[in-house]
């Protein structure tokens, strides 16, 4: 019965996405003087999914931050559509970093309302998305009282609320349990069905249909 409700999860109807491509060319990145990525090319088409894998310290997080325009690459460029990522990132990206961006004393209701308002998404989308991630009962809990996995789920709800065509997720499944990973897969499938693209750095095996894989360990 539980599996049934998950399978029939109802997603809110949001304003249609305008699908975007993301393309990185000749990207070289370093951190603390150590070269992590050398002349990397990658491309993501609408509805596409790309998983960044590789051992710790191979630059998955740095690459994601560079794709978001938060880190300036040593060489190369990132383009979203036909514009430089730095200029359009704010209007095209949904970002989930290694931290969830939650405030320990803020309830999920307040936090998610704020982010919905910031992105011009109707607040009525909050509850359905929380239901999809299975945390609707926690809406009046301060984030500091939630477990790591619950916080991650809340972070994913925030990403979905932004209603942006490109999702960049750093270890989205890190603290999630099996059911949580299934819900994440469903959320991602919904996003891709709307023409959205996803790039995720991960250590878990994520069973997303048709997802491409990029092993950063090979670029060392």
């Amino acid at each position: 019965m539980l599996a049934m409700t998950t399978a029939l999860a109802e997603f809110p109807s949001l304003v249609a996405l305008s699908p975007q491509t993301l393309e990185a060319t000749g990207l070289s990145l370093s951190r603390g003087g150590l070269r992590l990525v050398e002349r990397l090319d990658l491309a993501l088409a609408p509805s596409g999914a790309l998983l960044l894998v590789g051992p710790n310290g191979t630059g998955k997080t740095t690459l994601l931050r560079a794709l978001a325009g938060l880190v300036r690459p040593d060489a190369g460029a990132v383009a979203i559509g036909d514009q430089p990522a730095g200029q359009v990132a704010a209007d095209t990206l949904g970002w989930l970093g290694h931290a969830d961006g939650l405030k320990p004393n803020e309830t999920l209701r307040h936090a998610l309302r704020f982010w919905a308002d910031m992105h011009g998404t109707p607040r009525t989308a909050i509850l359905p998305l929380m239901r999809v991630m299975g945390i609707e009962a926690l809406i009046d809990r301060p984030a500091g009282q939630l477990s790591r996995g619950q916080q991650r789920r809340a972070g994913l709800v925030r990403v979905a609320l932004a209603n942006r065509p490109l999702w960049l997720l750093d270890e989205p499944a890190g603290p999630l349990d099996g059911a949580g990973r299934d819900r994440l897969a469903e959320l991602v499938a919904w996003h891709r069905s709307r023409g959205g693209g996803v790039i995720a750095a991960t250590h878990q095996t994520l069973d997303w249909p048709g997802a491409a894989m990029l092993d950063l360990g090979m670029y060392r």
Binding site: R65, A68, L70, V71, R72, A89, A90, D91, L93, W95, G97, H98, A99, D100, G101, L102, K103, P104, N105, E106, H110, F114, W115, D117, M118, H119, G120
Partner: protein
């Protein structure tokens, strides 16, 4: 405009629910102006003369004391990434954020300064002048503290760095704000000029500091 309001309201709310809101700076300010007479001595003339300057100085220190939280927490919990990627311009967002937190935490300072002035034997009118000058100084003080806080976000012992960066930049605000109270006490007509100059510095800070804060945030994230 509604986004600006949303950031302002959220930051004010977080400042209240997060670390006791105005209690920290108010307690620091109160402690400083209560202890100072014990060090200066009981002479009423001396206390009344020193009062306005002392209170301007104590207010500056209590702003610095709470500056570490302005950007440090947002840096470590990932909020700053999200703000940098939000559809609102980062400079405008930093302005709303800093003022929202600053006003929510620092509003008691002018009130305490008014009562403190009376306590020190400063007559009512100069005390009110001092309170008004402090209220006018708060935007400048908090934006300068925010600039230093953004530069030091995520740095260990950032409190030290913030004090070193912000204190010299706060000098004009201190001179004008305390000067307004002092001139008021001495019956000097320059009190009003000092108050207006304090306001001018605050307006200047509102116009310029957000760009500095946004640049500092970007460089800290990169």
């Amino acid at each position: 405009m509604s986004r600006l309001g949303a950031v302002f309201a959220r930051e004010a709310r977080l400042a209240w629910s997060g670390g006791g809101g105005p209690a920290g700076p108010a307690a620091f300010f109160l402690a400083a102006i209560t202890l100072a007479p014990l060090a200066i001595g009981p002479s009423p003339e001396l206390l009344a003369a020193a009062g306005p300057g002392l209170m301007g100085f104590a207010a500056l220190l209590s702003v610095l004391q709470s500056a570490e939280r302005l950007y440090g927490d947002d840096f470590s919990d990932g909020t700053l990434d999200l703000y940098a990627l939000s559809p609102m311009g980062l400079s405008l967002l930093c302005l709303a954020k800093t003022l929202g937190q600053g006003i929510a935490t620092l509003w008691p300072l002018p009130v305490i300064a008014l009562l403190g002035g009376l306590m020190y034997g400063v007559p009512l009118q100069p005390s009110m002048m001092l309170a008004a000058a402090l209220a006018a100084a708060i935007p400048a003080l908090v934006l300068l503290a925010g600039f230093a806080g953004a530069l030091a976000a995520g740095v260990r012992r950032s409190g030290l760095l913030i004090a070193l960066i912000a204190a010299p930049m706060m000098v004009p605000v201190l001179i004008f704000a305390a000067g307004a109270g002092r001139a008021g006490f001495e019956g000097d007509e320059r009190a009003l000029a000092n108050l207006v100059l304090t306001l001018a510095v605050s307006l200047g800070a509102i116009a310029l500091a957000p760009f500095g804060i946004a640049a500092a945030v970007k460089s800290r994230l990169g």
